[in-house]
Symmetry: C2
Subunit: 420 residues, 2 copies
């Protein structure tokens, strides 16, 4: 693992696989990207990104927010494109084009059409993503000029430019360029993500674009993205809120000539790399969670996954747990409270709780522990909480995790004081 | 309605019924109460309350938190007392006796036994409630002396003393003494509640004790308390957290000689009074929500109650909605986001949203409105949000409400910075 790789994989909760290393090169072979200004943000601040896959293959997979209030760009990308055949993505920041109704659908389609025309491809092969303020019509006056400018500027090292176009108030960039050694050859894997910031003062959206020059069949791309999203972006919470616009898109150009065949060692290794990449990006989003100083990971083991999941979400989204995390306060009573609330009618619940490996509650009752050691452990940057529900099988527990940010003054400031 | 009554019923969301007025007298006939110091809190700060019903009847009803982590006092009161036959309550603050296991059960039973002995009644007629820090054994050295002192001090105007013993960091008292004119005669209704404050730095617990000199049959007491709790303490949220200790106890002495018969006009009028009393106390708890500056009421109308309930809770517990409320920011996009998250897979969701009667979103899309008027309305102390889900029947909607506090810097300070 190179020094560069160590910089990206900077969490105890994600290991860089031995066959993965960070490199400094731009996009994988077969991709170009660029940014431009489309007059959505003021003052010529970059607000439009264009990403195109030149092939030879163009296999894609995508995942979207589960919100019942889906933004038009999500609806267009989900419902009005060729499944697994995206060749390009047009992305904007500064306006989420959400809660904008039929007019918003037309705007999303116009973005798709403009990009397709500029690139000479079918509209149904262009994905659309937006992030920013909601409930405000997305201005389209500068769209055609912006798309034309971006299309003219497309280049193989355009990953950073594209990444710049999708950020809102992210405090730092969330992107990586990786080299992956597979049994069948070397491929590259790059990604650009955004999330956690707020804008004008709507809510955060999580976007992530992943590119590789490996050749994947559609079902392999689907499977790997599905599994890796479940283990990354599905396992994080800044404030328990679900955006209208969340989108993750994986695109595979095949330009490396290395095929990742189903159920091969290549697929396993590629999957490990994608998993580490997405988990680290997910942790970076949590770490950039508005005002975050510390991040927590709660692991819940139970007799069944559903109860474990409810408890993990309840702990991760408890404002009492989150403020305690912020204050470096190992107040485990708040964890007991959150678990109890998630499992009504189960009292008395003989749960075990440990913080940073120090058991503080066993069988539902407080146990003596080294308070000074606990206090010192709670002052770290990454804090681990473990909860065992009664009846779990130590040999084969139903286990789940959620990674979450703390709740700080800055969160309140960002969300309460920067008002319209 | 007297001036005093106007002071207690100080919310647009609760009307004082015409047959109810506030009075200055202590407990209803047939009750005595007192407080004492039992060495649970330091420095002789009052921490023990004793309330006794001298009859002639002693009919009670109780409601408890649904947490899976029930504190021993809740378990003892729920499982080890005569149903509907409580004659006394012993309550302490400073320690919740929660997550204390079998030892905690013995402590709760000791409290019950000490009170019973001092009052010369059966232990099974004594309810026990505790509030304060959790996971710390409740010290019992001062218990016997405290109970003896409280028993010796019992008096008919002891309501304020009792109320003082149950508060933790409540910023103001939540209590009322009401006179209720029923067709069959005049009865009195008093209550002492606590909640929203934090202690040592565990979590808030909501306790409420209600006394009346009306004569109620057990099933009437059960029915009225059940219905009124559902419309009051079940409809509030400070931070979406469920305590291990929440308890509401209604006690009826019958000393007025006025019987409230089932399905009578008396029952209706008494129920209206109890409803207004508990709703106002619930609103006072929200208003005292840690750091609260504004409180919100979200009303959701839908085709079914379950979906409406999910949406109302999601809005009330959204940190984005709560920070916007705090900042007087009429950011309705956050309401759309919360509703969308509560109803996954329903997109596109044609919801309507109004803030203080001003429609900002119709059929899922933004609508033009007077932004200045909206901004001014959002700066009030009580803000009303209305959400209509598609498919609701305007003539007979499934409708629900949740009252909630905002999320402020002071909440973070209280919960993050006052650490162990």
């Amino acid at each position: 693992m190179s020094a560069l790789a160590q910089e990206f994989f900077a969490s105890r909760w994600v290991q860089c696989p031995p066959h993965v290393s960070e490199d400094a090169g731009g996009l994988p072979a077969g991709f170009r990207a660029a940014n431009a200004w489309a007059a959505i943000k003021p003052d010529h601040i970059v607000d439009l990104g264009l990403l195109v896959c030149d092939g030879p293959d163009a296999v894609s997979a995508a995942r979207f927010t589960r919100s019942g209030v889906l933004a038009p760009p999500v609806l267009v990308t989900r419902d009005e494109t060729v499944p697994n055949g995206l060749r390009a993505v047009i992305a904007n920041s500064g306006n989420a084009n959400a809660a904008t109704g039929p007019d918003g659908m037309e705007v999303a389609r116009a973005m798709q059409r403009e990009a397709a025309t500029a690139l000479g491809i079918e509209p149904a092969t262009v994905g659309v993503t937006s992030t920013g303020v909601i409930g405000v019509p997305l201005p389209t006056e500068g769209l055609a000029d912006g798309v034309a400018a971006a299309a003219a500027a497309l280049q193989a090292d355009g990953a950073d430019a594209f990444s710049e176009a999708i950020v809102t108030t992210d405090a730092f960039h969330k992107r990586a360029t990786l080299t992956v050694q597979l049994p069948s050859g070397t491929v590259r894997l790059t990604a650009q993500a955004k999330g956690a910031g707020m804008i004008e003062p709507a809510f955060a959206t999580m976007l992530c674009f992943v590119q590789t020059d490996a050749a994947l069949e559609p079902k392999t791309a689907e499977l790997l993205l599905s599994v890796c999203v479940k283990r990354s972006f599905d396992r994080i919470s800044v404030d328990g809120q679900l955006s209208t616009n969340d989108t993750v898109i994986l695109m595979c150009s095949g330009a490396s000539g290395v095929a990742v065949a189903p159920e091969s060692e290549d697929e396993l290794r590629f999957g490990e790399a994608l998993d580490a990449l997405l988990r680290m990006l997910a942790i970076m989003i949590v770490r950039d969670g508005e005002g975050a100083k510390r991040i927590g990971r709660v692991v819940v083991r139970g007799p069944g996954l559903q109860a474990a999941e409810r408890c993990a979400r309840a702990v991760a989204n408890s404002p009492l747990v989150k403020t305690a995390l912020h204050g470096a306060d190992p107040n485990w009573g708040r964890i007991a409270q959150a678990v109890g609330a998630a499992l009504p009618g189960t009292a008395p619940l003989a749960l075990d709780i440990a913080i940073e490996g120090i058991t503080v509650c066993a069988g539902g009752a407080a146990v003596a522990h080294d308070a000074a050691a606990l206090q010192a452990a709670a002052a770290g940057v990454e804090i681990e909480y473990e909860v065992n529900l009664p009846g779990f099988d130590p040999a084969d527990p139903a286990e789940t995790e959620v990674l979450f940010s703390d709740l700080s003054h800055e969160y309140v400031t960002i969300n309460a004081e920067y008002t319209t």
